[in-house]
């Protein structure tokens, strides 16, 4: 093969790629996403206003919850004809995520919705975006400076731990020597530390403590590994709280393999398959604590309101709040039907 034909190969290959990429950008037909319908009071906010260009960047969708965040964000943006959403590749490399935000700044977007892989690491570049006059909405993992974002939307990690601990206390009423185990998520994340802290505090209220604690990293595989170790380490367990329903798939697999049934399991995050297990009533999973996967979608909504200078509906206050913290309710057999429609599929 001569050099000339080799060159042709490169050129055609790259052009094909480029072409394929260009055609894959056509928006698909709008899908019905499972978000709640608008409230009874029709808010004027939904009427199309000025065009808003929003950049969105999040960590890699390596577990269901994170995938759900991105899906819901894209679905939400499609509902508004005045919103153009630019989605950057999900990545766990902070260097790459910083350059994505830099790219958004160069593109002169109106707003950036940012779920940082590491809040502290993305703070400088988010601050730079704010200084460039771009509205930054921080989602889920907090920056460490008030100047880095206009509005922050958070789940309640500490509250999740408290809800889970309170539920375990209720179920184990009066058992003073109960063995409570905890399967945490990624231990290096502040959110995991917050969850564990809340769990510990709530248990302490009824005189219990975490007897065994292992950590996984939100993936099915890691959940299976951590749970298998835990079951080896603790011959008798009364209750397990698992931080994350994605790794929970692996946790339940390990429990099934061990054949043990002397405890009940409380989940976290609130995936649809866990809720179906709870609903069926014949699983060791008795409850899960919700950590909403709608944060990115809410981020898009708030970013749009901020750029169009509209107020938040159903609040008397005329400005969009600085922090919005979502609630972490416990889902049991009694109320599962209320939450199943908005749950995410892991």
């Amino acid at each position: 093969m001569s050099r000339r034909s080799a060159r042709t190969l490169v050129v055609t290959g790259l052009s094909v790629l480029a072409l394929a990429a260009c055609t894959s950008n056509t928006p698909k037909a709008e899908e019905k996403s499972g978000s709640a319908p608008a409230g009874p009071a029709a808010v004027k906010n939904d009427e199309p206003g000025q065009k808003v260009k929003i950049g969105f960047s999040a960590p890699a969708a390596d577990h269901g919850w994170m995938g759900a965040i991105t899906k819901a964000t894209q679905a939400e943006a499609k509902k508004y004809p005045d919103v153009e959403l630019i989605v950057a590749e999900g990545t766990n490399d902070v260097n790459l995520q910083i350059s994505q935000v830099e790219t958004f700044i160069n593109q002169k977007v109106d707003a950036i919705v940012l779920l940082p892989f590491d809040g502290a690491a993305l703070t400088p570049v988010a601050t730079k975006a704010m200084e460039a006059g771009i509205t930054v909405v921080n989602v889920d993992r907090e920056f460490d400076s008030p100047f880095a974002a206009r509005t922050t939307i958070l789940g309640d990690n500490h509250g999740m731990g408290v809800s889970a601990g309170t539920y375990v206390c209720q179920e184990l009423k009066g058992k003073k020597d109960a063995v409570v185990a905890e399967i945490a998520g990624i231990d290096s994340l502040p959110l995991t530390q917050d969850r564990s802290k809340g769990f510990k505090e709530a248990l302490a209220d009824c005189g219990l403590k975490v007897s065994n604690r292992v950590a996984a990293d939100f993936t099915v595989e890691s959940g299976e590994k951590a749970a298998a170790n835990l079951l080896q380490a603790a011959p008798k367990i009364d209750a397990i709280w698992n931080h994350d329903d994605d790794q929970g798939v692996g946790v339940m697999a390990a429990i099934k393999n061990s054949g043990r049934k002397e405890f009940f399991v409380v989940g976290g995050a609130g995936s649809a398959n866990v809720m179906r297990d709870i609903k069926s009533g014949n699983s060791l999973l008795k409850a899960t604590v919700i950590y909403p996967s709608t944060q990115g979608a809410d981020g898009v909504r708030l970013a749009r309101l901020l750029v169009q200078k509209k107020a938040l509906g159903d609040l008397v206050e005329v400005e969009v709040p600085r922090t919005v913290q979502l609630y972490a309710p416990v889902v049991t057999k009694d109320n599962v039907d209320q939450y199943l429609p908005t749950a995410f599929e892991s």
């Binding site: 001569s2 480029a18 490399d93 400088p124 460490d144």
Partner: protein, 344 residues
């Protein structure tokens, strides 16, 4: 018919040191002459970028964004080029970046930096990186452990140690002078990009203009022949891994400046990105042939690709497919070219 056209040493990218007339033959021998395909690929990507997002892509700010992103992984890849050219491989680069960044941002180090000078943090990162590289090198050269395994062990150990040191928390840098210097610009170009240029230029000189470089090719090509020719193969191998570790220390400093943090999660999967860049650049995975210029192009191609995809708001997964296709096409092309050059 082959005509060695198009290899005129007039490359526009700032990263490549200008090649003199005298060195053209050298360039060809070391594989840099095979960079034509890479140049074409990069130019093509730029054409696609300009065509699809012209108003943003061709701006100075965007070019600097691409270069800043390329700088960190670029420095790691330069070190990787030496190891691979010398017949080895280093899977621990990402973990070494993490460990160096954590060690250089511990409270004690930051206190010293605050009291005296930020050079303490930089020195710490470089020493930690080099020390990890030294362990890798000793294991490979004197312990006779296969490079793949020795550096796999370092990958696990260094990241684990980084987690222990940092208690798995992100350590925020409070030494403003450090962030100001490395986050700043010189003559309109970010300091990070200058560092990348310097490292790449130094790497090119070391590989193509010194005895060290020639020994590297010899050791990678045929270690036994190199030993018979009087090269201290074991000592040289250790030096190569130390060099890779040192580059990881430099990359850690750059990442620290970019993120104002040190963290055990830094540098994830850098080993794969670096190996991909080195291989599409034209360095042989089996050793004996390597090119810094090619590696720099490899890094630039991947980072530009990423930038073009982000600017056009294209599907997240399509980018990975494109990346894979580029790797395969590049390697297939190189094999064809290599066969022809050995044939002639």
């Amino acid at each position: 018919m082959t005509i060695e056209g198009g290899t005129t040493p007039s490359r526009q990218d700032t990263v490549t040191p200008p090649a003199t007339q005298r060195s053209t033959t050298d360039l060809l021998r070391t594989g840099a002459g095979r960079n034509l395909g890479l140049v074409v690929a990069l130019v093509l990507l730029c054409v696609v970028g300009v065509a699809t997002a012209g108003d943003t892509f061709a701006t100075g700010a965007n070019v600097l964004t691409i270069l800043r992103l390329a700088a960190v992984i670029g420095v790691v890849s330069v070190g990787m080029t030496f190891v691979i050219t010398g017949g080895g491989i280093d899977l621990s680069v990402g973990a070494m970046v993490a460990l160096a960044s954590v060690w250089a941002t511990t409270l004690a180090t930051q206190q010293m930096a605050a009291d005296y000078h930020w050079i303490f943090m930089v020195t710490t990162a470089l020493v930690v990186g080099s020390a990890c590289g030294l362990v890798n090198g000793l294991l490979v050269a004197y312990g006779k452990v296969v490079p793949f395994i020795a550096t796999l062990a370092m990958l696990a150990a260094a990241r684990g140690l980084a987690e222990i040191l940092s208690d798995r928390r992100t350590q925020i840098i409070s030494v403003n002078s450090f962030v100001d210097f490395f986050g700043g610009s010189l003559i309109g170009v970010p300091v990070l990009v200058w560092i990348f240029v310097l490292v790449a230029a130094a790497g090119w000189v070391l590989l193509n203009r010194t005895t060290f470089g020639r020994r590297t090719f010899a050791v990678g090509g045929n270690a036994e022949a190199a030993r018979l020719a009087g090269i201290k193969v074991q000592r040289h191998t250790v030096a190569l891994y130390v060099l890779a570790g040192l580059c990881c220390g430099i990359a850690a400093v750059m990442l620290m400046a970019r993120t104002t943090t040190g963290s055990s999660t830094h540098g994830q999967l850098y080993e794969l990105d670096a190996i991909a860049a080195v291989v599409i650049g034209g360095t042989l995975l089996s050793g004996g042939r390597g090119t810094i210029v090619g590696t720099v192009f490899g890094v630039l191609i991947f980072t530009t690709l990423n930038n073009v995809f982000t600017l056009n708001n294209l599907s997240i997964s399509a980018q990975s497919v494109a990346k894979g296709a580029i790797i395969v096409i590049a390697v297939l092309l190189q094999q064809r070219l290599a066969r022809r050059t050995t044939g002639s």
